[in-house]
């Protein structure tokens, strides 16, 4: 991160990355709502948000395509930061302390192990959802019904996992105060970086001096 911030702030996400993230996020919300509408009768009323059942069915895969492309662009930017390394094992070993807000002093890079695992889980779900979703997209693809059946089941499974993962992601943003501004304003406070991502904090601040 070479972008200069104000004093006491560190730039975490560029404007482009933030836009990218929110495209992914909005698409995900639309996908989750439309997908859930078709997944469970109790949620079919959600189709009204999209102009009714047929529009929900028409829009969902197109939104999915936008989501997938946006996510790939986003992932291209961050995937290198999500390789697991030895410090992550340490973090995972102290997961209880993390959850109990007692995680002082753990060496964490730009992303902690939880974030990294979540990232790879989302990548996996993305691949699964795109592959199975295309199989189910009757308007353009005609596959043997047995494949469509299995694809349909897996699509639901991937979507469930993804939604749970994103719930965790959102909750983490709510729980860890000071996180949301990273995706809105693009910056975090020095203290936030120092507390949660100390290695990254040091990386960035040293870089700034150079």
């Amino acid at each position: 991160m070479t972008e200069a911030g104000k004093s006491g702030e560190i730039v975490r996400y560029s404007y482009a990355t933030r836009v990218n993230h929110w495209i992914v996020a909005i698409c995900f919300i639309l996908l989750a709502l439309s997908g859930l509408a078709l997944f469970h009768p109790a949620l079919f009323w959600l189709t009204q948000l999209f102009g009714g059942g047929p529009w929900t069915r028409i829009l969902h895969p197109f939104v999915g395509i936008v989501w997938a492309i946006a996510f790939v662009l986003l992932a291209a930017k961050v995937w290198r930061d999500n390789f697991l390394n030895s410090t992550d094992r340490q973090w995972l070993g102290h997961i209880r302390e993390v959850l109990d807000n007692r995680d002082d002093g753990l060496p964490v890079g730009k992303y902690n192990a939880g974030q990294k695992l979540l990232f790879w889980l989302i990548v996996l779900c993305l691949l699964g959802l795109v592959a199975t979703g295309l199989c189910m997209w009757r308007a353009y693809f005609a596959l043997p019904v047995d494949i469509v059946r299995i694809a349909s089941m897996l699509h639901a499974a991937f979507a469930t996992v993804l939604i749970c993962a994103i719930v965790v992601h959102i909750y983490a943003a709510i729980w860890v105060k000071g996180s949301v501004r990273a995706m809105t304003r693009g910056t975090v406070s020095d203290g936030w970086a120092w507390k949660h991502h100390r290695l990254w904090f040091r990386d960035v601040t040293r870089g700034q001096q150079k």
Binding site: V168, S189, T205
Partner: protein, 301 residues
């Protein structure tokens, strides 16, 4: 679209009970197709097209008497022709089967359908698509063990044989039954049809078809379209009529246990977060952290 005289007992994507007060006290209906009497004349296809105002395209010859070559949104029934050389008798047999919706007692299409009221089952057993509620997702196709529903290229709605529910509602037999010149297709209460089938099976056995039998597969709870087959032990001879049709396991999971489990998982995740928050509160950056950060920044060479 639904007619008051036909009582809907099951409705797609509906979690509350459908009307129960009125029932089919005269018995459920069934169409019995006696394959051994069928001459493949396609009068049933034409009657279906006429009654339901369907016109498929004028296609081409694909080397078979089956025309159009497959079911479609405009062809709800068609004759499938299979040439079978019987190894036991040495005789050739031309097995002609009228294909179309089987109107399962446990309809996979209805189970798979995500749109409330797009697929219904009447008390008399007929499974009907109400296209105005259809969203065109094609899930019904995955639910059907007989490969019957088809999505229209024109309107993206799913279509299939209605067993002429509109005719049956006013006491008429389905159009295909009405027109069948040889009496190969008959219609009545399911009990009567089973009895009629038993007579036909006896006749077929007397003609050397020792495995003659009724096709009313239990895997889908029985069907309201049944076949009398000369070779009931080998239904797949009849242009791949499935021997033991059931709703696919994948669809069963997807439309069964996955639904509550999925929602539960999502709710549980959210609840976990909520409870965690209640118990532990937010992870906040306090003054000490900011101070520590500032200190470190100052000490940075």
């Amino acid at each position: 679209m639904s007619l008051q005289s036909l009582d809907i007992i099951r409705r797609s994507a509906t979690t509350t009970p459908s009307p129960q007060a009125r029932g089919a006290h005269a018995g459920e209906v069934a169409k019995l197709i006696d394959v051994s009497k069928c001459i493949g004349c396609k009068a049933c296809q034409v009657a279906c097209m006429e009654w339901n105002d369907l016109r498929d395209e004028v296609g081409s010859c694909t080397g078979s008497y089956t025309n159009p070559p497959d079911l479609s949104s405009e062809s709800w029934t068609l004759m499938r022709f299979a040439e079978y050389e019987n190894p036991d008798s040495g005789n050739l047999e031309w097995l002609i089967r009228k294909d179309g919706c089987m109107h399962c007692a446990d309809p996979g299409c209805l189970k798979a359908c995500p749109s409330p009221g797009a697929i219904v089952q009447y008390a008399n057993g007929i499974v009907d698509f109400h296209e105005e509620n259809c969203i065109g997702c094609g899930y019904c196709i995955t639910g059907c063990p007989f490969n019957v529903p088809r999505i229209s290229k024109k309107d993206s709605k799913a279509y299939k044989c209605t067993l002429c529910s509109d005719r049956v509602a006013v006491g008429l037999e389905p159009a295909c039954v009405k027109t069948c010149p040889t009496g190969a297709i008959v219609f009545g209460s399911k009990d009567d049809m089973k009895q009629h089938a038993a007579e036909r099976i006896e006749d077929l056995k007397s003609r050397g078809f020792e495995h003659a039998g009724l096709y009313d597969p239990a895997g889908v709870g029985g069907t309201h379209v049944m076949y009398v087959l000369h070779h009931a032990d080998k239904p797949e001879l009849y242009s791949d009529l499935p021997a033991n049709p059931t709703i696919s396991a994948a669809v069963g999971v997807w439309k069964g246990i996955a639904k509550p489990l999925g929602l539960l998982a999502m709710a549980a995740t959210a609840a976990f977060g909520f409870l965690h928050y209640l118990r532990r509160g937010p992870s906040e950056v306090d003054k000490a952290d900011e101070e520590a950060a500032r200190r470190e920044l100052e000490n940075t060479p």
